[in-house]
Amino acid sequence: MHSDSAAVRKSVRTYITVFVMLMIFTVLTVAVSRFHFAVPIAIAVALIIAATKGSMVGTVFMHLSHEKQAIYGTILLTFLFFFLLLFLPLLTHLDRVHV
């Protein structure tokens, strides 16, 4: 974890770089949506860009690139349940399709 001021001073440049990258990806998200891809491709592209932006916020701004084991464990468990929550209800839809 960043605890000394010299390390934080170095990190400031990274924060600015990530900020510029996030801006570029935001413009890219809007630009890509203008292409009118087929819906599955459009969803995949938009979510890949959003996930890239999200991982930059997580790793750099939330300092996940250098965190303690307890936090990684918490996040791993959360995402396991998050994906279950996200996709399990879809099974009910599949049931309906095949009936």
């Binding site: 960043h2 605890s3 000394d4 001021s5 934080v8 001073r9 990190s11 400031v12 924060y15 600015i16 990530v18 900020f19 996030l22 801006m23 935001t26 998200t29 809007v30 949506s33 819906v39 459009a42 969803i43 938009a46 979510l47 860009i49 959003a50 932006k53 999200g54 916020v57 997580g58 701004f61 939330m62 303690k68 084991q69 307890a70 936090i71 918490t74 996040i75 468990l77 959360t78 995402f79 349940f81 998050f82 929550l85 996200l86 996709f87 399990l88 209800p89 879809l90 009910t92 839809h93």
Partner: protein
Amino acid sequence: MNIPYTVEERPDTGLTNGKFGIWLFLASEVMLFGALFSTYILLRVGAEEWPHGELSVPLGTINTIILISSSVTMVMAWASLKMNDWAKHRLYLALTLVLSGIFLGIKYVEYSEHFGKGEGPWHSNFFALYFTMTGLHALHIICGMIVMLYFLGPGAKMWKKNPEQFTNRIEATGLYWHFVDLVWIFLFPVLYLL
């Protein structure tokens, strides 16, 4: 009575109580928003038609830029404390507060426009989801603003008494704020662009 491990790290987790606490809270927040994203997927997959172009992309883009900028000012507010620069910390925290205010202002304009056209949450599944998801997100913004106002006002006294604990509190506020930004990063394409 003093609460232990506010400044020193716990021997078992290597974290302060506050930091581990805010991460557990964020885990519960992931599940809260996860339930809404799950609802979105279920309704969208089941719908024969889904409205497109109902929301203002320019306003959504501006709000995305504002919220990302506020994430940077927030992390700079924390970094300034680590570098012992109190004046810069105040400036960056105030900037974060202003940016979050602008975000809410733009959201108000969007909401007014839709209500003016009779496009409230009752209008369709899309608008029900739009108002629920962005409304809950806006509520999080308001909560964050209250915390920032506290640290700009009465909460700031702690810096003189216990600077390390104050820095930890700003770090926890920052983690919450970045999470709010993270949620918007996904809400924007899902609601405005797809």
